[in-house]
Amino acid sequence: MQRLHARYPFLEAARDAVATEAVDLATVVEQDGAVVDRARERVVTAVEDGETGEPRREPRVELLSYPVARVLVSMIGERVLVRRYARAEAATAYERFAADFDDTTELKSVQSTDLDLETLLTEFDLTDAVQATADGYRVGVGTYLPLAEDQWGDEWRLVNRSLTDGDVPVTEDELRSLLREAVRGRIEDGLPFDVPDVIAASLEDEADEVREVLAELDLTREIDTVVPDLFPPCMKALLDDIQKGEHLPHHSRFAITAFLANIGMSTDEIVDLYRVNSTFGEDMTRYQTDHIRGDTSPTEYSTPSCATMQSYGDCVNKDDLCERIPHPMAYYEERIDDADDDDLEDWREGEGEGDDAEQSASGD
């Protein structure tokens, strides 16, 4: 059992196990260096890589590191950290339960550390809302909507679903994604909480390290300059397509929209920019942009990495700089840094649009 709980520390049963295992969390953080170290790693890796790192061999350490990681996240208390952390824990859980579901070896014993679908559905009180069908599952619409809220892609939108008699048909893979969201919700639930001083005192160093990692991350996100000449080749090409009025598949549309939002363009500016293209409905653009920005969903989406761009065939016209960077945002940052500040003309200023002062002056 202990191994199962260590693997899935968000389960109710795991919480109970922690309660019996560690009489007192304050003592653990003070005395158990291995647990604290693993907890720190969980959070740091979550922020940096969106994963939770290598599990420790000893189930006890692994299991106890989860509540301690939650304490760490709570000490810092920032929304973005909570989101990233929960997303990373959920991604890890997803990988594990997907592997468990696919594991069909006959050697499964009663003592197995595998989690089955039944158990997971029961854990989240989904046994009534989710029914198996001949070619997948049906999920009740009231259950589907909150779990699909943060999934990216038009195919998740209710309007594109074969909703019948209150149920949304989903494939097995889709059900797994929905379960990942259920896990994420469970992990986010209650975070951040108030941390008693005695516990916080022992974790100050670890908390500082997480703060630093976060700060570095923030720096890279604070670009607010729109200079299309310096865009990476992939984004230039996508922008070009939009302005030629071409119909883009949604991964491409997502990539360029996320990029523009990440470099500081507002929803209105993006809508304006796309208006030339009749295949981009304003409502849709608004919906996507707000979604990416995290206004209408708890998650902010970032621009896809070069690897993702490549896998979708959106990486085109690579140049020298492309060889040295892992991410279109990194490309753009380098180009901005290299350029002389005075030479940078923000596109939005050039057009006199999106400038508040000018708008209100001409708005009468």
Binding site: V141, T143, D154, L158, N160, S162, G166
Partner: protein
């Protein structure tokens, strides 16, 4: 509106509430209540953030306050009488839909009569109910004539009461067909090629439900129409579609003739011309079948909604719950006229005359002092088109 008119309406609203039994919504004491009194001036201030506890017994309250408008919240709260939304502590909310003639694309404001607007609204209501009953499978539905320009539907199925704003927006978009993408209605399957042929893709429209089914219904109806026509008519019909020249029209017609079964099963790979037709019918399905509900009413989980059974202070008509099987025959301009106002005539001074259809009659109202059936007089006074004549 002059004070003597207000006084008259107040008094008659009270008479109405004295003789009418009002059924409150379920969990009435967990809801916020609000009302607009008969005050001077066009700008009306709502008294809100009241709990039923504060109002007292509903019927007794209505008789005592004889308000111009009465509302209750879709939301249920732990402390409905608290003065801020946060302090109310939201628990859940009915899922509410509002169809208002002002928002219907089919309505031409200023041209359509009140009766015409309401008829168009009822068509939209029936389309909306199609979605709610078939697609969503809702069972606890309450349909209400608003007393003004439209209809409300209150859904109270347990499974959706917890949904938040963003989730409700998905429901709005579904019903309105916003964000529907033809490509997403298509399932793609790779099928092995015959003999030495390379594998091909089979693309199938999802025909079991959702907008895929609606698209398919329209497509199939069209195909069946085509098959009944003679060759020339069919080709002409097809060429009415943008981008359909002679060649493509012929190809589509042939595909329809040779492969109706394929089309019936949703297969759009039978010919590219069919696939293109299907795509056009997806937009057409949205145009024809969508229910143009007023989005904010559905997404706002704190919204106040007019109380069924109460009188609408802008028309003097009753806000009425409708049984499901009574909707088809319901005529708001006859059935929602309160009985209280049907028995005698009163004298009013009309400032803005015109045609008034009400109570199954049509009145050509002239300007100036005159005696009219009370419900017509009340309607005109409530709309600000007449004053109670001076005593």
């Amino acid at each position: 509106m002059e004070e003597r008119t207000r006084a008259y309406l107040r008094g008659r609203f009270r008479d109405h509430y004295r003789r009418t039994e009002i059924t409150p919504p379920p969990a009435a004491n967990e809801r916020e209540w609000g009302f607009i009194p008969w005050t001077e001036g066009p700008d009306t201030t709502m008294v809100r953030h009241r709990s039923l506890l504060e109002l007292g017994d509903l019927s007794e309250f209505l008789v005592r306050k004889r308000p111009r408008h009465v509302y209750f919240s879709a939301g249920r709260f732990r402390d409905p009488g608290a003065s801020s939304m946060a302090a109310k502590d939201w628990q859940s909310a009915d899922l509410v839909f509002d169809l208002d003639a002002d928002h219907l694309p089919s309505v031409t404001l200023g041209e359509d009569s009140y009766a015409e607007m309401l008829a168009k609204c009822k068509d939209a209501l029936l389309r909306l109910l199609d979605f709610l009953e078939d697609d969503f499978g809702f069972e606890d539905l309450e349909v209400v004539f608003s007393g003004g320009r439209g209809y409300h539907v209150h859904v109270r199925d347990e499974s959706v009461l917890h949904l938040e704003r963003e989730h409700r927006r998905e429901i709005v978009d579904y019903v309105r067909g916003i964000g529907m993408e033809y490509e997403e209605l298509i399932e793609t399957e790779t099928v092995a090629g015959l003999g030495r042929k390379t594998p091909t893709e089979r693309r199938t429209l999802e025909i079991d439900g959702g907008w895929g089914k609606r698209t398919h219904d329209h497509l199939l109806a069209f195909v069946d129409d085509l098959l009944e026509m003679d060759e020339d008519d069919a080709l002409d019909r097809l060429q009415e579609f943008d981008g359909f020249g002679e060649g493509k029209a012929q190809a589509a017609l042939n595909a329809a003739r040779n492969n109706r079964e394929g089309i019936e099963s949703g297969n759009v790979t039978v010919h590219t011309a069919i696939s293109q037709l299907a795509e056009r019918f997806a937009s057409r399905a949205v145009e024809r079948d969508n229910a143009p509900i007023d989005e904010p009413v559905t997404t706002d989980t704190n919204r106040l909604i007019r109380l069924p059974g109460s009188l609408h202070g802008g028309s003097g008509l009753e806000t009425m719950r409708l049984e499901r099987d009574a909707i088809a025959d319901f005529d708001p301009l006859v059935d929602a006229v309160p009985e209280t106002f049907t028995n005698h005539e009163i004298t009013v001074d009309v400032s803005r005359g015109g045609e008034v259809e009400l109570g199954g009659d049509s009145f050509t109202v002239t300007e100036g002092d005159q005696s009219l059936p009370e419900y017509v007089a009340v309607f005109l006074m409530a709309r600000g088109r007449a004053e109670k004549e001076k005593e």
